[in-house]
């Protein structure tokens, strides 16, 4: 009757439910993917190899994962800060782009010593990004305009503002394509791992994670943000300045996206030649949702998504699978991981057994 091993397993299952759920989700996703791959590819073995292990096969490929993690982490944090207070301010994508644009202006027009130069650029882009994110939020507070609509429209404005800067302010006429001159060495972020483009921006991303984690957990502002996000009416009745709290968290969110853009352009491209939105802001949305707005989980989700992207890119380069299907593969995994109710029935059954064992006196 009383099987201690079984009971122990059950408890492990309940307390680590989230990890089990994700594991099962990934397994299911891979099974579905396997079917699709077998149907479309002549060499299913190569596909699975590149998709699952590809990013680990060389330093350069692994570097690719970490390079991509930097903007993913910053955009994921950006979106999660805005969502934290229930404002679906989806302007991170546009802010990331103008972050790159303004960083290139500063890099080419200012002249500062190394180390200080990128720091100044990051701070300036953070302020620009923060102020930009306030536009949808304050329109919402003041005129009750929909944040989602304002933010999506704002993305267009920012996209064309960025292109304007590219074409009319920083374009180098000597180039055959639309691009700025290469930034002076002092305004770039050093690539410090040989054979990769991993740049010092990764420390900016890590610092951002730690700072946001600390702000939310241990500061007055973080407390106000958490309560406001859970119940605005209650926050107001308790004396919290809800409007100010919302604006501050939007500012922080925008600043993170602005930093993301600046770091990306100084670290990876070292010149400005992107003429459209990169979509990292919306990847950030995905990451924020999967990471449930928690800075540490957001980081894990960002690295995982970067790994998936890298694997997909390798599949695309080395196998006969078309690019379209590669997109399906990675989306599939995200869908299953996002399925929160997966195995909820099993969990409930386990909890019932656990409660009956404990005599049901759990609430005392």
């Amino acid at each position: 009757m009383c099987d201690p091993l079984k009971e122990k397993m059950r408890r492990i299952f309940i307390y680590n439910f989230e990890a089990f759920r994700i594991l099962v989700a990934i397994t299911i996703a891979f099974s579905v993917i396997a079917v699709l791959v077998l149907l479309t590819s002549d060499d299913a073995g190569a596909v699975s190899y590149w998709f699952i292990l590809g990013p680990l096969t060389s330093m350069r490929r692994l570097g690719g994962v970490l390079e991509l993690s930097i903007p993913f982490i910053l955009c994921g944090l950006s979106v999660s800060m805005m969502f934290q207070v229930n404002k679906f301010n989806l302007c991170s994508d546009g802010i990331f782009y103008i972050g790159m644009a303004f960083a290139s202006v500063f890099a080419l027009k200012l002249d500062l010593p190394p180390v200080l130069f990128p720091i100044v650029i990051i701070v300036l882009c953070a302020v620009i990004g923060g102020l930009t994110a306030l536009i949808p939020a304050s329109l919402n507070l003041k005129f009750n305009a929909s944040v989602v609509v304002c933010a999506l429209m704002l993305n267009y404005v920012l996209q064309y503002l960025g292109r304007y800067i590219l074409l009319y302010k920083v374009k180098d006429p000597a180039l055959t394509y639309n691009g700025s001159a290469i930034f002076p060495k002092a305004a770039t972020l050093t690539h410090f791992v040989p054979k990769t483009r991993i740049h010092t921006g990764i420390f900016v991303a890590i610092a951002a994670v730690l700072i946001i984690y600390w702000v939310l957990r241990s500061t007055k502002l973080g407390f106000a943000i958490r309560i406001t996000g859970k119940n605005e009416d209650f926050a107001k009745a308790s004396g919290i300045n809800v409007a100010l709290t919302v604006l501050v968290s939007q500012f922080i969110g925008g600043a993170l996206a602005g930093i993301g853009g600046a770091v990306e352009v100084m670290g990876i491209y070292q010149q400005f030649r992107i003429d459209t939105l990169l979509g990292y802001g919306f990847d950030g949305l995905l990451i924020a949702v999967i990471g449930k707005n928690d800075p540490l989980r957001v980081t894990v989700a960002a690295v995982a998504l970067a790994y998936l992207r890298q694997g997909a890119a390798l599949v695309n380069s080395y196998t006969d699978i078309p690019l379209e299907l590669v997109q399906v593969l990675q989306s599939m995994i995200v869908i299953f991981v996002a399925a929160e109710q997966l195995m909820a029935g099993l969990k409930h059954k386990m909890i019932v057994e656990e409660s009956e064992k404990a005599g049901g006196v759990q609430h005392v």
Binding site: N231, K236, I240, I351, Q362, H363
Partner: protein
């Protein structure tokens, strides 16, 4: 011995958070009786009834109706089995007529696809007349009183062929007059052969109309007995497991300075509806001012204006002698305003935040919690542990979300916070609504002791007139947003006269009302 109408056997229910709400309950109701289901909050009454009505699934146990096994997985199957439920919060559509609400989901048709309002009105009227209820089927729900709305709910389930009627705290929102009317109807329904399950916290009502009672405690059955063979004190002892003193002992108030002052306050909604008109009264430290009113007569607006949530148009409101018009809610709270909202889950707590954070939401920004711009989680834990202990908030862990608490415990959480931040004026709007006797008594006693010992001014709004008369020193009655009566001495009044003022059947002269401010 009369035959068995309903039997629920060995019912087990476990919620997803692991809380076992029903631990193998056996509940039997005889045909043609009014059966009281008693228990503190979190005892499992509502869960048991939700299982009966198919709103919740149960893990184990069977339900038998007239000896036959019934499978009930959703409200539709419950209705087919002759079970009807009147919820505490009415489920009616305000803009539709009574007849339309009654037939909703089973609309009669004159031709296929065409709704027959006349037939609907006829169905409604026939049922109403059969049980001596006097209602106009063509009136819209929003135009009728709470008592009539409740009648509509009862008619609604009768029309659907209910033979077992479940009423969840039906008198909580009624005036004494309406309650008497309801009781007459319930007796009539019983005499016609219906079976009624009556959930209530008010033991005097149980003694008045119920035949049998069953008590639950912490998810288990305590016992079942005919009411005639028991007493209110035995029932309450069964409910909470020990005898408690239900009387409030309070001394004569000793007044300090004026803390709350309303001077000719008007409030008009953005839709132009006048909710408050020329409200003037004041409350001193050391006394309890009660406000009696039927739901929607302006009492919530008074509370929200004083708490800073609502901006009024004319007049002046003073807190400890200072005009509150331009002040933020935080500065009002810093001046000693504490607010227990009637809407517990909207203004009283954040359900998705930990219990711990909810307990310090009004003081996280100052010492001892805050240090510079940081908060000290260690101090928050200490405060939370202290309050959970002192106010007996029953929870698994202070890091659990507040939404995992039962209604009574959520209210204890709110009260624990509001009573302990050095209050000078407390607004308590329905502080004990829908919560168990033990917790209610604790809250009432604390309100009195705060006023007597710490010289706090208490403004108590309550639909429970017994409570209002027990706790208050003086009372104002609101009717239609105006002060209908001011009773400076509560020994001069009883529930029935209060009821007449509340219903607008009686009014004081303007001179008498003017005495509310002095």
């Amino acid at each position: 011995m009369s035959e068995e109408m309903l039997s629920m056997r060995n019912i087990v229910k476990v919620y997803p958070n692991g809380f076992m709400a029903n631990k193998g309950i056996n509940f039997t109701v005889k045909k043609g009786e009014i059966h009281a289901l008693l228990g503190e909050n979190g005892a499992g009454k509502t869960t048991l009834m939700n299982i009966l009505f198919g709103l919740e699934t149960h893990e184990e146990g069977e339900i038998y109706i007239e000896g036959k096994r019934a499978e009930i997985h959703n409200p539709l199957e419950a209705i087919q089995n002759g079970i009807g439920m009147v919820h505490q919060h009415f489920k009616l559509i305000p803009s539709l007529t009574i007849a339309e609400n009654v037939v909703l989901g089973m609309e009669p048709e004159s031709r296929p696809g065409v709704f027959d309002l006349k037939e609907a009105a006829k169905i409604t009227r026939e049922t109403a007349e059969k049980y001596n209820m006097n209602i106009d089927p063509y009136a819209t729900i929003e135009s009728v009183s709470v008592g009539v709305k409740q009648q509509v709910e009862i008619i609604k389930i009768l029309v659907r062929g209910a033979r077992i009627l479940v009423l969840d705290e039906p008198t909580a929102v009624l005036t004494p007059q309406e309650t008497q009317q309801l009781f007459k109807e319930l007796k009539h329904l019983r005499d016609e052969g219906n079976t009624i399950i009556f959930i209530s916290h008010k033991l005097n009502e149980v003694e008045e109309i119920c035949d049998t009672f069953t008590v639950l405690r912490r998810g288990e059955l305590v016992g079942s007995k005919p009411v005639a063979e028991s007493s209110a004190s035995e029932m309450s002892a069964m409910m909470i497991g020990k005898n408690i003193d239900l009387e409030i002992h309070k001394e004569e108030p000793e007044l300090s300075d004026e803390r709350i002052r309303f001077e000719g306050v008007d409030y008009v909604t953005i839709f132009g509806k006048k909710k408050l008109e020329d409200i003037s009264f004041n409350v001193y430290g050391g006394e309890v001012m009660g406000i009696a009113a039927i739901e929607g007569n302006g009492q919530n607006e008074v509370a929200e204006i004083l708490s800073g949530l609502l901006k009024y148009q004319n007049g002046r409101v003073l807190l400890s002698g200072e005009d509150i018009k331009e002040k933020s809610i935080r500065s009002l709270r810093e001046a000693g305003m504490a607010y227990i909202s009637n809407d517990r889950y909207k203004f009283g707590c954040a359900g998705l935040a930990p219990i711990r954070d909810n307990l310090v939401a009004d003081r996280y920004f100052k010492t001892p919690v805050a240090k510079g711009f940081m908060i000290q989680n260690r101090v928050i834990n200490e405060i939370a542990d202290g309050l959970i202990e002192e106010y007996d908030i029953r929870c698994k862990d202070k890091l659990e979300n507040a939404s995992s608490l039962s209604g009574g415990n959520a209210q204890k959480l709110i009260v624990a916070r509001e009573f302990t931040n050095h209050p000078r004026a407390i607004i308590a709007n329905q502080p004990t609504r829908g919560i168990d006797i033990g917790s209610s008594q604790m809250i009432r006693e604390r309100l009195v002791s705060l006023s007597r010992e710490q010289k706090v001014a208490v403004l108590l709004i309550s639909a429970d007139l017994t409570e209002l008369l027990e706790v208050s020193d003086k009372i104002i009655v609101l009717h239609n947003g105006k002060i209908a009566a001011y009773i400076p001495d509560i020994n001069q009044i009883d529930e029935f006269v209060l009821g007449e003022y509340m219903l607008g059947a009686k009014h004081q002269t303007p001179e008498e009302v003017r005495c509310a401010i002095h």
